[in-house]
């Protein structure tokens, strides 16, 4: 088992109390698996039913496989403009 670093921003960083999370990852894990793991952490109340996740700077679907070398981020509701 390896770990992946998940970047946090804005309201999510405040709720989880930091700018990154280290999440254990089984081989072949998906974005959905990752979100499931994150939901068990304190602060996860802030997450909507289907939070947006970016992998390597692109929005990813829940069935996309992720590994420890990927750049992963949880994306709060965006509010640019």
């Amino acid at each position: 088992m390896s770990t992946v670093t998940v970047q946090l921003f804005a309201s999510y960083a405040e709720s989880f109390g930091g700018s990154t999370l280290k999440i254990p990852l089984d081989p072949g894990s998906t974005v959905g698996d990752l979100v499931h793991s994150i939901r068990s952490l304190p602060g996860a109340y802030v997450l909507p039913e289907s939070p947006r996740v970016a992998v390597n700077r692109r929005f990813a679907s829940f069935d996309q496989v992720v590994d420890s070398q990927d750049e992963v981020a949880l994306i709060p509701p965006v509010a640019g403009g």
């Binding site: 921003f9 804005a10 405040e14 970016a54 929005f59 509701p77 965006v78 509010a79 640019g80 403009g81």
Partner: protein, 145 residues
Amino acid sequence: MRRSAIVTREIDPAALMAEVQSTEFGAISLFAGTVRDTNDGRSVTAIDYSAYTSMAESELERILAEAQDRFGVMAIVVEHRVGGLALGDVSVAIVAAHVHRAPALDCTRFVIEEIKKRVPIWKREHYADGGREWVDPTASGVATT
């Protein structure tokens, strides 16, 4: 040509227009988003913008590429500012140039709407009552610019 950037300095819309100026164009459309003094019934005093900068720049570039394909605009430039902004400050500016007005106008509208959907930028409003909150357009359903 196209250029996009996340910036920490003031945005100068006139400079962006000058950047795309050419006698081959008959239209340059400019959209500028500015910080206003109320939102959802609360008095706003300032806004902090933050971004996942590397992804925001990638996503802006993808939006501009899509916009050029879709509207055939010959030149398009976007800047979005992050950091602490005061009332009236320009938070985002988009210029699009085309031979004719319709594609230029449609292009700026497309780009700002896509920015609001998919560019990882966030804003925290400061209120006159001393409170501050992250703006969540998905929660309130209230348009914020």
